[in-house]
């Protein structure tokens, strides 16, 4: 009898873990999550080891605007996520790098650039990025505590 009780308790506990995992997955996938960023490409706005709160709602409903900071999958490595700022939407004219100097951002794409223009691999290197790669929009910085700030559009 004690054994049956033990089995029942274990099953209940497992179910509880699965429930929690599923709710966590849905929150992080559809509502918002926390991202730690590294690298110099977004200085001076973001420094290495800042923790950001990002939301997944506006990319899902295509509510992105120029000036938003977004997290997106790297076009050359889908396992890596990159943080950059949208500087132009589809239809805008942008100045690219050497091979194609001026171009219009094609339909369904955005132009992303780092704030630290001299030290940033961005759309000037790999061209416009499809909107489908954008995962989330950065809302605010939550760490370090003395630099908590909203990071809204300013472009």
């Amino acid at each position: 009898m004690a054994f049956m009780k033990f089995i029942g308790k274990t099953c209940g506990f497992m179910g509880y873990i699965i429930q929690t995992a599923c709710i966590t997955h849905c929150t992080f996938e559809y509502v918002g999550d926390f991202v730690m960023c590294s690298g110099p490409s977004m200085e001076p706005t973001l420094q290495t080891n800042n923790v950001l709160f990002t939301e997944h709602i506006s990319p899902r409903f295509q509510r992105l605007r120029r000036g938003d900071i977004v997290i997106f999958k790297s076009p050359s490595n889908p396992r890596q996520n990159i943080c950059k700022r949208i500087t132009a939407m589809s239809g805008d004219r942008v100045r690219g790098n050497f091979p194609r100097r001026n171009q219009v951002v094609p339909r369904g794409h955005v132009w992303l650039e780092g704030d630290n223009a001299s030290n940033s691999a961005d759309s000037r290197v790999y061209g416009p990025v499809p909107v489908g790669l954008i995962r989330s929009r950065v809302v605010c910085r939550v760490w370090p505590f003395d630099k908590i700030a909203l990071l809204s559009s300013s472009c």
């Binding site: 995992a21 599923c22 997955h25 559809y30 050359s76 396992r79 790669l133």
Partner: protein
């Protein structure tokens, strides 16, 4: 009391369902003629396919796989195509701006089977692997068409170029 318990089960059940659909896979309807004759051979009745999310969890795709991906031109739209070339392959294109294309790192070359009636990499170029949504594994409806989707590439569409020596299709 029963009302509260129903609310409780819905609140707990919905996230579990969504997580299941996100990680394992789901069934979707195929529209259009771009994958004829494998999918929708008859334009009257449409096929339903099982899209496996589990198969693409770490982006290990092979040439010939049928995949669904977010259209690079319109992020609202999902398209279903066959992978012709992976990164490093040199692909002979059909009406792209250059005759031969070397697929860049982290990209793939996708084409519909119905050449000439499909909007694919020959129009928009190589697509990033990050846009791949799921792998089409089975046709599940109508019942008489129930079958596994084979990862077969037409003989004349095999990539030419460096990666041909390692033929992943034989594995």
């Amino acid at each position: 009391m029963w009302f509260r318990s129903i609310c409780r089960s819905v609140l707990l059940g919905v996230p579990i369902g969504i997580t299941f659909l996100d990680t394992v896979g789901y069934v979707a309807r195929v529209e259009g003629i771009s994958m004829q004759p494998v999918l929708n051979p008859d334009s009257k009745d449409t096929d339903y396919v099982f899209l496996s999310r589990w198969a693409v969890r770490d982006y290990e795709l092979r040439r010939g796989d049928v995949i669904s991906l977010v259209s690079p031109k319109d992020p609202h739209q999902k398209i279903i195509k066959r992978i012709v070339g992976l990164q490093g392959d040199v692909v002979y294109t059909l009406g792209y701006k250059s005759q031969y294309v070397k697929v860049p790192e982290g990209h793939c070359w996708v084409e519909g089977d119905h050449t000439g009636h499909t909007l694919d990499s020959n129009t928009f170029g190589p697509v990033s692997l990050g846009l791949v949504n799921a792998k089409a594994a089975y046709i599940v409806w109508p019942p008489n068409r129930w079958q596994k989707l084979e990862g077969k590439l037409p003989e004349n569409r095999k990539p030419i170029g460096p990666a041909v020596g390692i033929n992943l299709l034989e594995k």
